[in-house]
């Protein structure tokens, strides 16, 4: 049932918005991971980020694409949490720090074992429009014991102008999407974040 709701939601609402109203310029589409378990690490500027990444996939695959999202935001009331779970298929993540690492990542690890593709935003929050924030370390700790999982970075540009944090007015802009080479998990979070930063700095600076 969830799968049907998600397919309908993306076929009739999200994909038309993403491809007709916004419009994407996609580079290196062939690098998009098609098989899970895999992780996509993207920059975060807007709620549209998740929608754009999921829309890159065909409808037959979208139920395997699971954004990892803040529980305090996306589960805050019944309506938003129903949409988040059924239409988008998020994996809620507790940002309060109350749960242990193992408990925190339980659902993500389960999804990776099931062959899902997780979307994570290493910046943690949408932040200032069209500016990169510092990367958090969560992604590294999530995959520390699962180094075989490939991480694909995706840089998006333009969505922070279309629908930035804290604004309700949606203004269409083309979005540039660039998919990077797989990053293998190194031995420290610093090394990992440096590699990520290297990719995003090269992409975002082009503007």
């Amino acid at each position: 049932m969830q799968r049907v709701i998600k397919i309908l939601f993306f076929a009739f609402i999200v994909k038309p918005i993403v491809f007709i109203i916004l419009g994407l310029n996609i580079q290196n589409r062939q690098k998009l991971p098609l098989e899970g378990g895999a992780v996509i690490a993207a920059n975060h500027n807007s709620h549209l980020d998740t929608m754009v990444i999921i829309s890159l996939y065909p409808l037959s695959k979208i139920h395997k694409i699971r954004p990892v999202a803040a529980a305090d935001y996306f589960m805050k009331n019944k309506f938003i949490s129903w949409i988040s779970i059924n239409c988008i298929g998020i994996i809620p993540l507790d940002r309060t720090g109350a749960s242990s690492l193992e408990e925190l990542f339980k659902e993500c690890h389960q999804a990776l074992d099931d062959g899902d593709i997780l979307i994570l935003f290493p910046e943690g929050s949408r932040g200032v429009p069209e500016k990169m924030s510092r990367f958090k370390k969560g992604l590294y700790y999530l995959l520390k014991d699962k180094k075989q999982i490939p991480v694909t970075p995706i840089a998006m540009q333009g969505l922070g102008n279309s629908l930035p944090k804290g604004e309700a007015l949606f203004v269409p802009f083309n979005c540039n999407v660039n998919i990077g080479d797989i990053i293998n998990i190194p031995n420290s979070s610093k090394e990992f974040n440096d590699q990520l930063k290297n990719f995003f700095d090269n992409q975002i600076a082009i503007k």
Binding site: G23, I26, G160, N161, P164, V171, P172, N174
Partner: protein, 310 residues
Amino acid sequence: MFDIEQNSLYAMIGVFIILLISTFIYLYKESRHKEIDYTELKLRIKSWWWMIGIVFISLSVSLNTAIIFFAFLSFLALKEFVSIVSMRHVDRRAIFWIYLSIPLQYYWISIEWYGMFIIFIPVYLFLLIPIRLVILGETSGFINSVSILHWSAMLTVFSISHIAYLLILPVQNVLAGSIGPVLFLLFMTQFNDVSQYVFGKLFGKNKIIPKVSPNKTWEGFIGGVVTVTLLSGFVAPFLTSLDMMQGFMAGFIISIFGFFGDVVISSVKRDIKIKDTGTLIPGHGGILDRLDSLLYTAPVFFHFLYHMKY
């Protein structure tokens, strides 16, 4: 629905024949020279089929479909323009108002309100854009933003909407119908692009404007102007209410201004150091890469026809 007048129907069939011939030439070349990569050419021709198919269908179904189609074209062109130029973040709110001007501008066309159609963008939107920016209160970069926004509205909304107004001019050539002049404008503009390119490839030697467009030559330019001027003289009486002499003149201004539309958009791309304005049309680039010459030919051809005949 689908009641296309005789001459316009012949013109559409003619375009399909040209397209079929080009497709066969491509297939022949590809089978003869297996070692050469023709992917780019293949994409180009494939996109031509799509573009011509979509344009012809929207023109054939009904007048309103055609007007909505050109409004959508304005939307795509405006979006591409504001996406490639560097704007301040606050400008998004003024850009929103330009988007809103599109349905209004095309609404004036659909109710045949010429007076409003012709001043709405250059007067009312022109005055409104700075007002919106003043209310936002960000003065640093104000002049720059106002200029970019106004120019984008003129190019993508005002210019393109002239094609739609051609559709609702009272029909004078009954055999061509209301879509005849639009087919004439679109065909001559695109044919001018192609002939300038072909003549440039064949005889090109002397660069015409090397700083902007190193591939453009005097030979290509003149070849295009002569071809399109001559052809227009013969096609205009068939698709429009112009006679042969006026057809020559129409072809002449279409080829001259088509060239300038092309190099103006090229200059925009040079300025922001990009090769194509987008990736919407495979093998061609963005929508502005295809519409560039039309942004100039649409208003000048419209007013030429309007002053000659209305």
